[in-house]
């Protein structure tokens, strides 16, 4: 979304103002969607714990949302099972651009303990591109908050990113 050498200077100005406005609002209220593609639940309850009063990630404007069409960040847990692969892809593709992905837990990064199980076809970044990895089994809520903060920083340095799913 870079501004090329366009003859319409005014449109460019508008475009950049609009882009900055969008980035600002996105950074101050990123909406999450959570997808479990075969995790043991451990990571999922830690994500939930991150959003509840003790850790309260909502103070960054982060909110968990039900529909991929409203979400900016996909937060994935677990290895990818044969059945969940297509669902994961579909969820990712339904998200509006720009979209970001956080992979939470050892399983999401490498398959973890479940690597080699017959119904596990791999880890998250073999299916969709991942922006931030959070190691741990499961990671502590502090680590998940840290990942969110890193991602928010990344949003502003890299600007909006458009990427298609590798299907």
């Amino acid at each position: 979304m870079t501004n090329g050498a366009s003859p319409h200077k005014e449109t460019n100005l508008w475009q950049s103002v609009l882009d900055r406005l969008k980035l600002w609002s996105r950074k101050h209220s990123p909406w999450l969607i959570h997808f479990n593609s075969g995790s043991c639940n451990g990571c999922d309850i830690e994500i939930l714990a991150t959003l509840t009063p003790r850790y309260d990630a909502e103070r960054f404007g982060v909110q968990l949302h039900g529909s991929p069409r409203h979400a900016d960040i996909l937060i994935c847990t677990g290895p990818v099972t044969r059945q969940a692969r297509e669902r994961l892809l579909r969820t990712y593709e339904q998200m509006p651009n720009p979209k970001y992905v956080i992979a939470v837990g050892a399983c999401a990064i490498t398959g973890g303990t479940f690597a080699g199980c017959y119904n596990v076809i791999g880890h998250i970044d073999e299916v969709i591109p991942v922006d931030v990895y959070v190691p741990g089994c499961p990671p502590r809520p502090e680590a998940i908050i840290d990942a969110l903060v890193i991602l928010l920083q990344k949003m502003s340095t890299n600007g909006p990113k458009i990427e298609e799913a590798v299907s």
Binding site: A49, P53, R54, S67, T81, A84, G112, F114
Partner: protein, 402 residues
């Protein structure tokens, strides 16, 4: 469930991605207007093939793999596995280790029930209770972390004993935490039994009487809420439950409210039990020697997980890896009852009935229960939940205005 040609009826498929349960499962409900006519469940999204994987890992490696079947009841999975393997190897576990296993198991039950209370309240649209119960849950998480160093997979068990000891200082922290939690649990008990709005969502809904419960084979707190007197801790005591029996909790009404009350009262029983255990911790070493190869044979072990009876079958061929391990988790027994319970109920009550059994798909999805899949207008779980809340919102406000 076949797609019906009748115009009034249509199928509402839900899932598998629905953030409320944090786990994937697909449901299809056939509705006639508002009333559910039939339901089918499709699971297996989290099926990883753990049982097969156990056959290519050593006895010790399997302990860590099996603990990761479920992040909520991790300790009890490891306990069931250890008990089975120790039985095969004919190893006697020291009493202090047994007591600590029970102690961690009860702490785990408390954390699991509080977690459930929050999720169930969230389904009812009662997010205040959700946030409060999760805040209080952090107290028991702190205790578990102080005891074992981990918040979720405690790894307290080893074959032949436990890894962690409880000293006096820790015991004092545990007691302190328990006092706070007890006060809170009593408060929640009062809230769920007196709050008018909440009672409207729970009282007389999803009723399952004792006969039905026996027939559909429900277990754990779901069964105990219908008056089924079944609790492995009492019927076939293991670890420290033989020496120090725990107080059983039963209700008889069998509706959603009873399921709330049973789980909350179970927590109260757990507090008492942990205090008693701390008073009577036997003195002994924490582990015994465990052979690397386990004698040939078969063993069965049963334990009471927070959701009901957990069953392990272990077969050894005398080597350093198991020949076969089979696990049957409580959700598998309970999930079938949902398909029956929702028939004739309002669509708006479905989320509550489903969470009423406290389903755990990651546990369950080592085996798959498949029925046909009706793919049409896809509802997200969130949409169904919101539907339920709105439904009751409008009805309740009508009641007030009348």
């Amino acid at each position: 469930m076949t797609p019906s040609t009748d115009r009034k009826r249509f199928t509402v498929p839900i899932g598998p991605q629905h953030p409320a349960l944090k786990e994937p499962g697909h449901f299809a409900f056939d509705v006639d207007g508002e009333i559910v006519q039939s339901a089918s469940v499709r699971l297996g999204y989290a099926h990883r093939g753990i049982e097969k994987a156990t056959e290519s890992r050593t006895w010790v490696q399997n302990l860590y793999l099996l603990e990761r079947i479920c992040g909520i009841c991790s300790h009890i999975h490891a306990t069931a596995y250890c008990l089975g393997v120790e039985k095969l190897a004919e190893v006697e576990v020291p009493p202090r280790a047994q007591a600590i296993r029970s102690l961690v198991a009860e702490l785990e039950r408390i954390h699991s029930h509080l977690l459930w209370l929050g999720v169930a309240a969230h389904e009812a649209g009662f997010d205040t209770l959700f946030m409060y119960s999760w805040r209080d849950r952090e107290t028991v998480m702190d205790i578990l972390e102080a005891l074992t160093g981990n918040r979720v997979h405690y790894s307290a068990n080893v074959l032949g004993g436990v890894k962690y000891d409880v000293d006096d200082k820790q015991a004092a922290t545990i007691r302190e935490g328990l006092d706070f939690l007890e006060e809170r649990t009593l408060h929640y008990l009062e809230v769920v039994t007196t709050d008018g709005l909440f009672l409207q969502r729970t009282r007389g809904i999803g009723v399952m009487n004792r006969d039905e419960a026996e027939q559909s084979g429900v277990i754990g707190p779901t069964g105990r809420a219908s008056g089924v007197h079944r609790d492995v801790r009492i019927d076939s005591p293991y670890t420290a439950y033989a020496e120090h029996p725990i107080l059983p909790v039963y209700e008889s009404t069998g509706d959603l409210l009873a399921r709330f009350i049973v789980r909350l009262r179970e927590q109260l029983a757990s507090f008492e039990y942990i205090r008693m255990l701390l008073d009577h911790l036997p003195n002994s070493p924490l582990t015994t020697r465990m052979p690397r190869r386990v004698k040939e044979g078969e063993a069965i072990s049963r334990v009471e997980a927070p959701r009901g009876e957990l069953f392990y079958f272990i077969k050894s061929n005398g080597g350093d890896m198991p020949e076969r391990i089979h696990v049957r988790t409580p959700t598998l027994c309970n999930i079938a009852s949902v398909a029956q319970l929702v028939i004739g109920q309002h669509l708006a009550d479905v989320p509550m009935i489903l969470v009423g059994i406290d389903p755990c798909f990651s546990c369950n999805d080592r085996t798959s229960v498949i029925s046909q899949d009706g793919q049409r207008d896809l509802w997200t779980w969130d949409r169904l939940r919101q539907y339920g809340i709105n439904h009751y919102g409008t009805h309740y406000s009508k009641d007030i205005h009348r």
